[in-house]
């Protein structure tokens, strides 16, 4: 093997177009995540947590963001995949002269062993012929603001300091250092490989991994993921898609608290060139019920218990009021600010850090948290005294505030309204608390008061959220617009999916918000944004719950699988014209929707009970007669 360290490279950054959002893959270690492009470039990495400042952010600015790229110098084509049942990515580069496979992973921390706290391992191996590889490391700290100075430290490796920590790059070959970037060009022949480890340490002396052990550690990491997947209970017809979604969900679950972040990125645009760019590296309570249901029914009881525990205890500082989003440790998300350095994906400015939605009022989150607890109990979990107290506190808050306007599920920044979805979730909150009390799982519940308020909400939804002219439920009370969250009226047990009102609502939603390709917009907005991926999975699940035939659900799901990227990942939105992903990527919520729809379809096929909200479901005869 021959190495050619280049001290003054002509170029330090690959110029040209941004990769498509769907061209990215994600790797992670349940603490943070990195996005890897099809060119073998790590364009996004925040250490030590998902919401820490970035060290690579070429995702949002090709020149100023920073990256770590490993790829052949000559023209290549690529194929890529995850190693089966893992989050270990393999990208195969094929050039005229040879083929090389790049393996990328973030090792999941091996308990107790002497390994780095945070690490990315990369191996590129020539599998046939020979080819020249370029390795380019160009870190930029704090969202592109800082340019760390790289120091070559002999046999220890290359290091740079930024913020509170130190980064070490160790490799089987040394990189030539050009103060703020490092580069290596290296000829690989068949059977030869290059190995690298980039690690970050904040609170202790760094661990400098021995390169000769890296292959063994890659295999340990693969075993860890496979063992996790092995515990999954789902054996339905969409296993591959469900496994990839579950793996993505696990990757986005912060292991030290159990919180699930919505996505590992910030400011990937919902409209290219537009300003709908938000920071999603936090935990939204509005996803709680769907998330915990996915975890429980896939068989991950520990993850579900940890997530519930996080919701009820980490959010203690604001109880009984709940904020709509939190950091992974339950603190309020940081104030929103705009980066002056990063110019945004495809110049979609601004790049926002933090999230102003933290100050919004969303009454739906109470129903989400309480329904999550209810599902946990349904699957055999117990609520301890402290949890019961917290849940009753939420119930009392809902009794006092359910009739107030709020910002609602979609977090528009144009004021508060009386959202049907928020009322639905307040109804859900009180309904589940009554149910838990009647099962003897919850004490000190003012059952009669809760029932009275629940019925009042129900009455309000049935009268003021129903538009007789449109023959549909509508987004806001006494309104005329639709949004796709109305499909959830059945998910939460408010109304049967095959009731005339739900059928009419579904038809109206499809007519007004649907596309010819089976996708759904979440609501009408001008200029239009992308279609909302989870809404399509809500539709599929609505069909699986009884609104349609199993085959209709199956057909819709298969058509939605066409919009996942080549390795099974979804963003938040799908461009109706091109089918490309839009918004932050990958999106936990979309994958949770996929899992939910697959679970409901599987349960329907097997004739099992769907959605174990409560034994005496709200969809009973008494309720139906009230709705009628």
């Amino acid at each position: 093997m021959s190495a050619q360290p280049i001290v003054n490279p002509n170029h330090t950054f690959p110029q040209g177009k941004f990769p498509r959002i769907c061209d990215y893959a994600v790797i992670g270690d349940c603490r943070s995540a990195a996005l890897v492009s099809k060119d073998g470039s790590i364009d996004w990495l925040c250490w030590p947590r998902f919401d820490s400042p970035s060290i690579f952010a070429a995702l949002l600015d090709r020149e100023r963001g920073g990256l770590w790229k490993i790829s052949p110098i000559s023209k290549y084509s690529i194929k890529r995949h995850y190693l089966p049942d893992t989050n270990i990515l393999q990208t195969e580069f094929t050039t005229e002269s040879g083929t090389a496979v790049l393996t990328d992973l973030m090792p999941v921390r091996e308990n107790g062993s002497l390994v780095p706290d945070h690490e990315i391992i990369r191996q590129i191996e020539c599998t046939s012929g020979e080819l020249e590889i370029e390795v380019l490391l160009s870190p930029r700290g704090n969202y592109g603001d800082a340019t760390p100075k790289l120091e070559q430290r002999g046999r220890l490796g290359l290091r740079f300091c930024h913020g509170r920590g130190v980064y070490w790059l160790r490799g089987s070959e040394s990189l030539g250092v050009n103060e703020h970037s490092a580069i290596l060009r290296h000829q690989l022949k068949s059977g030869e490989s290059l190995l690298f480890s980039l690690s970050y340490t904040e609170n202790a002396p760094a661990i400098l991994p021995d390169i000769s052990q890296i292959r063994h550690r890659m295999s340990v990491c693969a075993d860890w993921w496979r063992q996790w997947v092995g515990a999954m209970r789902y054996e339905g017809e969409f296993r591959d898609e469900v496994v990839r979604s579950a793996l993505t969900l696990k990757l986005l679950t912060y292991v030290l608290s159990g919180a699930v972040v919505a996505a590992p990125t910030t400011s990937l645009p919902e409209r290219i060139g537009g300003s709908l760019n938000w920071d999603y590296r936090y935990c939204w309570l509005r996803d709680a019920s769907l998330t915990i249901r996915a975890m429980l029914e896939l068989g991950y009881l520990d993850e579900a218990a940890q997530f519930l525990d996080w919701m009820l205890h980490a959010t203690r500082l604001t109880q009984p009021q709940l904020r709509i989003l939190y950091t992974v440790f339950g603190n309020s998300a940081p104030k929103e600010w705009e980066s002056k350095t990063l110019r945004g994906y495809e110049n979609s400015a601004p790049v926002r850090i933090g999230n102003a939605a933290r100050d919004q009022l969303q009454l739906d989150v109470y129903g989400e948290v309480i329904d999550a607890a209810s599902q946990y109990v349904f699957h055999g979990g117990n609520l301890d005294h402290e949890m019961q107290k917290v849940l009753v506190g939420f119930g009392n808050y809902v009794v006092k505030h359910w009739d107030e306007p709020d910002e609602g599920l979609w977090e528009p920044r144009n004021g508060r309204q009386n959202h049907t979805h928020s009322r639905l979730m307040c109804w859900t909150a009180l309904d589940r608390l009554v149910s838990l009390a009647e099962q003897g799982k919850l004490k000190r519940v003012k059952v009669e008061e809760y029932k009275r308020n629940r019925d009042a909400i129900q009455q309000q939804i049935c009268t003021r959220a129903w538009n007789e002219n449109l023959k549909s439920y509508v987004s806001v009370l006494d309104g005329e617009d639709l949004d796709a969250s109305l499909l959830l009226l059945s998910w939460y047990g408010f109304e049967k999916p095959d009731s005339p009102r739900m059928q009419a609502t579904y038809e109206a939603i499809r007519r007004q918000l649907g596309t010819r390709d089976g996708l759904l917009y979440r609501y009408h907005v001008n200029p239009p944004e992308g279609t909302f991926a989870i809404c399509s999975f809500w539709e599929a699940e609505y069909l699986a719950l009884g609104a349609g035939k199993s085959d209709e659900c199956r057909k819709l799901m298969k058509s939605l699988f066409k919009y996942q990227n080549d390795i099974g990942l979804y963003g938040e939105e799908i461009d109706a014209q091109t089918g490309d992903a839009l918004g932050n990527f990958p999106q936990a919520f979309t994958h949770i929707g996929l899992i939910g729809a697959a679970l409901s379809l599987d349960q329907r096929v097997k004739g099992e009970q769907q959605l174990g909200h409560r034994p005496e479901s709200a969809m009973d005869e008494e309720h139906q007669s009230k709705v009628a």
Partner: protein, 158 residues
């Protein structure tokens, strides 16, 4: 020598030293973690290393305070400023001779000369422990000065 006074003052000074080092580490001034470094001599399990190291560090600090006390008794001076000066000398020793010898003595520490191996993977401290952060010397000087000053202030000469 006043044994009962040494036991009390040595313990208090060691606790303050440990707390000061842990605080400066927690605030991001340094990555130097003496309990972890000491514990890693005994085990490769990092969680146990922290626990063992903390216990070893407390015992070590306590024992080391005997040297301070012997100096106080010999010079018949146990004023806080004298303790502080001894603490600064102690810190200087740790940062220069100690950090120089550590990679050789520590079974799990990599050396700049040979690089990391399967067994030796801990980052070496470098001169004045600057590898663990540029503010490490300040943190070590301040915490050891506090150690000496508190020990002297609490110790009653025999």
């Amino acid at each position: 020598m006043n044994w009962s006074s040494w036991i009390l003052s040595g313990f208090v000074a060691t606790v303050v030293l440990s707390a000061a080092l842990a605080t400066s580490q927690g605030l991001g001034f340094t990555r130097m973690n003496l309990p972890y470094l000491i514990g890693a001599v005994l085990t490769h399990d990092r969680d146990r290393a922290r626990l063992y190291g903390f216990m070893a560090h407390v015992i070590n600090g306590w024992a080391f305070s005997i040297i301070y006390v012997l100096i106080f008794e010999t010079t018949r001076n146990a004023s806080w400023w004298f303790g502080l000066v001894i603490g600064l000398v102690h810190a200087l020793f740790v940062l220069t001779i100690g950090t120089m010898l550590l990679p050789t003595l520590h079974p799990r520490m990599a050396t700049e000369r040979h690089g990391p191996t399967a067994k030796r993977q801990l980052e070496p401290p470098g001169f004045m422990a600057l590898n663990y952060g540029y503010q490490t010397p300040i943190s070590v000087f301040l915490s050891h000065a506090a150690f000496g000053a508190i020990l002297a202030a609490l110790y009653k000469l025999h």
